[in-house]
Amino acid sequence: MSKTGLVIQREYVSRVKKASFIVMTLLGPVLIAGLMSLGVYLGIKDSSVYNVLVVDLTPSIAADTSDTALRPLFMKRLKDTPQVKFSYTTRGMSNAEFDSSAYSLMLVLREDILSVPQAEMVFRSLPSLKARSYIKSQVEKVIEKEKLALHSIDPDTYQSIRTDLDIMQINASDGEASYQQEQAFVGFAFAVLIYFFIFLYGVQVMRGVMEEKSNRIVEVIISSVRPFQLMMGKIIGVALVGLTQFLLWVILSFILFSALSAFFIPDLMSAGGMAEGMQATQSVIEEQGKDAMNQATLTNIAELILFRINWPLMLGMFIFFFLGGYLLYASLFAAVGAAVDNETDTQQFMLPITIPLVFAFIVSEFALANPGGTSVLWFSIVPLTSPVVMMVRVAMGFEAGTLWQLYVGMAALIAGFLGAVWLAAKIYRVGILMYGKKVNYKELWKWLRFNT
């Protein structure tokens, strides 16, 4: 095996064997899958039953011509579901009384609710978002209905007046509906991933270099291998650790998510095709009384995730920009590790590396709001920010005639990391043998010009 190969092997094996790596690798997917499943679970299957005590303080009126008895506005007009059951009273309870009662929620509707649309909900444990929005929509419906009656407006007329505008984004080039905004979100997720991976593993490279320097083993090693081989061996070894962890996360997350989903939403996953799956989801949603809006959104997102994004390109670009960005930043991190004697001295050199990375993250957030902006274009090409920003653009897809920007970005990134590696190697080979010297930028500049 070549000497660089041996270094890579040591860096890889020593990290993969660490307890912290194994724990992170196992816990990561559990956390991810857990959170995802929890989201799905909370969204679709909220099995809690809420007994809501409606404290109706509105004045008693004869609300309905068919009803002779006087009663407050909301009495018996909120629709029960299997999970939300309403009981009515006109007399409020103190919070202490409520706390010891059998009710899970107390909804206090003020006397002048028609003119001041405010209400209070007293809870022991915060109800689910779904339950809250259901209760809210029920109360709103009653108020709306009452107002319609007060103004003598026919409910059908009102329904025909109510407008919910749905704007379809159509791309002029192919005339198809565009989901760029949603796609950008998927790209942003990848951008965040790259951002974290670069930070996480870049800092590991820096720590590794500092460890070798402060242990004083570095001189022994570089009497056998060239400093450049040692540096690259470490950077590549750590990259492989990162890729291993990422791959294990994807596999484990998928297995866990499938298992958890099969357990909690059997209908969704047992059906072979996604269409059937979608129908199953729809029926679940309909059964639970959700409105058609969310259902449509859910279908769109599923469609988006499956068909709108060019997955082979996306994953390919993810690997490319992750590796490119990582190589660029990790070599800079390695140079910092070599330049300093201890962790506290890293701060002054970390800043110029951290700023472009954090900046890239911010730009990619801007890209969500304004994907076509000029700044987004430029920062998706500049090597220091492109690994993060370009992911958003790749997810949105490139308009005809702009694909060259991707190629330029890729070429610039390759040039960028070659430059960074060259620069870092020069600082590295001097820095690792320099002890007890307070290093500043002037000193680094001197090192760059040393002839070795």
Partner: protein, 309 residues
């Protein structure tokens, strides 16, 4: 033939000159002492020989060939600033370092076993380095330096951090390696061990070679017509007998025996000294004083440059 020839090697760090046209030869199958005060340029030279850095000018030959990367597998280097990976197990670490020097995994294991037995440290194999004491770690480092049976071994301050027992162990190993045919370059401030084990030396001061050659020859070069006499009788009468031709440098008494170190002025011989002394005291022994490496070191380093030959 020399194992290593250094020809007019210079090295600059910015405006600081670390080595100024340094030339020296390390003979085959001997122990070569590289001496000099801190900051003289020894480590710079050693790093250039190990190809950790390159010279700005000058040439280096390893066994007659210009130094090239493949030669590192034939050189063993124990740096002054040395250490091990603290979290790695001793055995794994030795294997890794041996393989970096080009040994196969199987060869390295077999040789390590042998060395671990000789140093009686077989039980350390699965220990982590952080569990070892400093002296223990030094032993492991010494093994990793010589495991690939290099023909040329560079030891920078090999005795620092060892107790007298382990110092002795390492000294014996160095001599054993030399007897087995290795050439050794030793950089140390311990002049006693230089006199004891080195056959040749070079002294570097302020980035220049001030002195080099066979140790016996170097020491006799520094002889200054100083003789040591032991005699019976009165120190006072001996002193009076010397007169102005002879300079008493040092004297001491041991029971009824007196010891004196006398410098003879130019043009006179030890016979003249004895003629003066014999009438007054009873001479027991007389010998020429040969300066120690310690004396020579201090003399060369403290002397202004222009007075050196």
């Amino acid at each position: 033939m020399a194992v290593l020839q250094v020809e007019k090697v210079s090295k600059w760090y910015g405006k600081h000159c670390a080595l100024n046209e340094v030339s020296l030869e390390v003979p085959e199958k001997g122990i070569f002492g590289l001496l000099g005060p801190n900051g003289a340029g020894k480590t710079s030279l050693i790093r250039i020989i190990n190809q950790i850095t390159g010279p700005d000018s000058g040439r280096i030959f390893f066994r007659g060939e210009p130094l090239k990367p493949e030669h590192v597998n034939h050189i063993g280097y124990l740096p002054e600033e040395r250490g091990l990976y603290r979290k790695m197990k001793v055995g794994e670490q030795c294997l890794y370092l041996a393989r970096l020097k080009g040994l196969s995994s199987a060869d390295a294991k077999a040789r390590l076993k042998e060395w671990f037995e000789r140093f009686e440290i077989g039980s350390w194999w699965d220990k982590k380095v952080e569990e070892l004491s400093k002296g223990m770690a030094q032993k492991v480092q010494f093994i990793t330096t010589v495991l690939h049976q290099p023909g040329f071994i560079i030891l920078d301050e090999p005795f620092s951090g060892f107790d007298p027992i382990n110092t002795n162990l390492i000294r014996k190993e160095i001599i054993r390696l030399k007897d087995e045919g290795a050439s050794i370059m030793l950089s140390t401030h311990n002049m006693a061990s230089v006199e004891e084990i080195c056959s040749h030396i070079a002294l570097i001061n302020q980035s220049k070679v001030m002195l080099d050659g066979e140790i016996k020859e170097v020491r006799s070069r520094f002889k200054e017509s100083i003789f040591e006499l032991s005699f019976k009788g009165q120190m006072l009468s001996f002193t009076n007998a010397l007169g102005t031709q002879f300079e008493l440098l040092q004297h001491s008494s041991d029971a009824d025996l007196r010891l004196a170190r006398v410098k003879i002025k130019q043009g006179l011989t030890v016979n003249d000294l004895l003629q003066r002394a014999i009438p007054h005291v009873q001479i027991e022994s007389v010998s020429e004083y040969i300066p120690s490496m310690n004396d020579i070191f201090i003399k060369v380093v403290e002397q202004p440059e222009e007075q050196m030959v």
